[in-house]
Amino acid sequence: MLTNYIKIAWKVLLRHPFYTFITLFGISLTLTVLMVLTSFLDHLFGSHYPETKRDRSLYVMQMRTQDSTRTGSSSGPMSFKFLTEYAKSLKTAERVTICTFVNSSNAYVGSQKIKLNTKYTDADFWEVTEFDFLEGKPYNEQNIANSDLVVVITDDFKKQYFGNVAESVIGKDVEIESIHYRVIGVVRGSPVTRPFTYADVYYPYTTPKSNYQRTGMRGGYVAILLAKKTSDLKTVRDEFQSHIARIPLPGVEDGYKYAYVEVKSEPYVENFVGTLNGNKGLKTVFFGIIAFIMLMLIGLPAINLVNVNVSRIMERASEIGIRKAFGAPVRTLMWQFIIENIFITLIGGGIALVLTLIVIQLINSSGIIAYADLTINLNVFLVSLLVCLVFGLLSGVLPALRMSKLKIAEALKS
């Protein structure tokens, strides 16, 4: 039966190329946009290189202090000392890394200027993340204890600084802001959309200008807490909060008297959404607009499709009339049309998949996002398939209802 329905749908498609074009254009366009969007969200939030352990990581990005009346607040990253005391000491976590957020700097080669992003990290950084080392190795506790002037650089920076050389640059000298560092490792770079791991040059935190000696609570450092397994996340979180609760209150920092301190350790998505803004009203507006745009994006082509399908009802009046005259119930007819519609949607989905691959390829190679690695993985594909089905149902039910409700006599008359 199913093959019959699909055969009929195929014939209907071939009958009027123009309408087929309208239908497939609408479907594949919508699905392409949705697929690229899911792929991008997956790129932003999924566990990808080098943060492959993101699903069992908690991110500590900000400390928020408030005065006793809770009128003003101040927030920002923390000091190395504070994180060592309150985060590094966690017992339930597998590992904890402390690093700076992205800083920027310049390097000069001949008459060339290279803009670069830098990051000061501890040795655990290389365990919590999974960078591909193309050359050499990461710095270890020994390098840090000795305050060695060593750096790990990305392949991109290597190309810019040393030119297009094939041989290894391990042991070579890099001069940044008048300090000479020895290259100890070369990694494949991380995309700029992952600020916790993105940089061009990674220094051990004991090198100059890292400000790890700062004694207050605030500074330039953030932390990633890695749990042993996903189900441990809550335990780690609770332990971290119990540490935070030990901070003596009230206190003074840089002349600011605070009575409340809040430091959150959150999974990546929550952390990201949290940074958008603390303001609840604005957040609702923001998500409201996104929801509205999505609704329009799926809604408009769906309405369009319903419109075209409903208008073309009469084309198939004789077929429906005959089937009804031979006793086909409304439900069977409805299912036939819905299945047909889903079939067409899936064809559109196939086209969309190809288009998405092209668009993703364009985005990855255009260099808008350095090291962009948008992909269609299983998750993205399943979400897209689900969207296809919903879209097919959405645009198929009303025409099917109209078609199956046609009067036999009227249908046969034409």
Binding site: Y19, S104, Q112, R214, P301, S311
Partner: protein, 384 residues
């Protein structure tokens, strides 16, 4: 005629309701898109207020060095000024043009309260950034006498605080004395809305405000930059020095505005093409269904033009209904002052959207209605 058209549409309201929804939704999408574009174009047309070419920002960070910061910054400034490649140099707070950081504060005058962007700069800033002063003069270090510190405001702040009054010499917020007025100052780039801004004289003894803005001679390259950075880092060991060319920073800030607009434009463009194709298909089918009616009208003497006019007016009336419903929604934006955007921007956007929708609808109806006009009465009636 119009009443007749209404009746025709009303009689087929069920079939038309979907078309109505479609046109309504397209209008809303278009309204969103045009609001965004009109808003940005309008901002773009206001002058920037300064010159970014050949201007460099040097960010200094003292790191763990805590002694005599103000003197050291002053020393670096003098050193940088001494280079023949540097035309002019000045010291300011870290919210330099096109940077990501910003700073604002409330300003009071005569019971009016305005939130303004604050820039702490020295006396050479106007010269370095080439900011024309339209009233009064840019402050000098010598102006800092008594308890009032000299400030320069932009035209927007002047309008909001003083209206038609002359601002020069007035005291605002009980601690600032206005010495001059500049035109516009859009520090976040051409697409930034012209906001109230205030420039305050930097305190030479403060350890903050450690950013140097310099204007170099055209053609100065990275070799000089490397030399300068090296000189600074040897003067103050342990400090971080970073140089930003404003032309580069400007590109980054522009992309932040333009990329979302372009994505939105492409997606909405495809949506509208999709809707137009669908509309065209539906009209084609509905006219094919009304061959009998057309044949009868032709037989009774209606001209081909008359027929095509009828179909076009029908769809225009339908579009008007949809637009009226759409306007109910769209008008809420200027009325409720959503996002604090001027009502004029929304109204322009509404006007453009209405025109574009009418245009699309007419275009879609044109071909099917010409087809209808060519129907021969004899053929059509014969089929009946």
């Amino acid at each position: 005629m119009i009443r007749h058209l209404f009746k025709l549409i009303w009689n087929k309201k069920k079939a038309h309701s979907l078309l109505l929804v479609e046109i309504w939704a397209s209008f809303l999408v278009l309204f969103g898109l045009t609001s965004l574009i009109v808003y940005n174009v309008r901002n773009y047309r206001e002058p920037l207020g300064f010159e970014y070419q050949n201007a460099w920002a040097i960010s200094l960070k003292s790191n763990e060095d805590t002694t005599e910061l103000a003197q050291k910054i002053e020393m670096i400034l003098q050193r940088v000024k001494a280079y023949p490649e540097v035309e002019s140099a000045s010291r300011m707070s870290n919210n330099f043009p096109f940077s990501q950081s910003s700073r604002n504060n409330g300003i009071d005058y005569n019971k009016k309260h305005v939130l303004a962007d604050f820039y702490v700069t020295d006396e050479n800033y106007a010269k370095t950034m080439v900011i024309p002063v339209v009233e009064g003069h840019w402050y000098r270090s010598a102006d800092s006498v008594g308890k009032y510190s000299p400030v320069v405001i932009n035209r927007k702040l002047k309008e909001e605080l003083f209206g038609d009054e002359k601002p020069v010499g007035k005291i605002i917020s009980e601690r600032f004395k206005v010495t001059g007025v500049v035109n516009t100052f859009k520090s976040k780039g051409e697409f930034m809305v012209d906001k109230p801004a205030l420039f305050e004289l930097v305190d030479a003894k403060s350890p903050w405000d450690d950013l140097l803005m310099i204007r170099v001679k055209p053609g100065t390259d990275a070799v000089f930059e490397a030399k300068m950075v090296k000189a600074i880092t040897t003067m103050v060991a342990g400090w971080s020095v970073e140089v930003d060319h404003l032309t580069d920073s400007r590109k980054t800030t522009h992309n932040l505005t333009l990329v979302p607009v372009i994505i939105f434009l492409i997606v909405s463009g495809f949506l509208l093409i999709n809707v137009a194709l669908g509309l065209f298909g539906v009209l084609n089918l509905s006219i094919a269904k009304r061959r009998g009616e057309i044949g009868l009208r032709r037989a009774l003497g209606a001209t081909g033009n008359g027929i095509s006019q009828q179909f076009i007016s029908e769809i225009l009336v339908l579009a008007t209904f949809a637009l009226l419903i759409g306007l109910l929604f769209a008008m809420q934006f200027p009325l409720m002052n959503v996002f604090d955007i001027q009502a004029g921007i929304y109204l322009t956007a509404i006007a453009i959207s209405v025109v574009v929708i009418y245009g699309i609808v007419t275009l879609c109806a044109l071909f099917p209605s010409r087809l209808a006009a060519r129907i021969q009465p004899a053929v059509a009636l014969h089929e009946e």
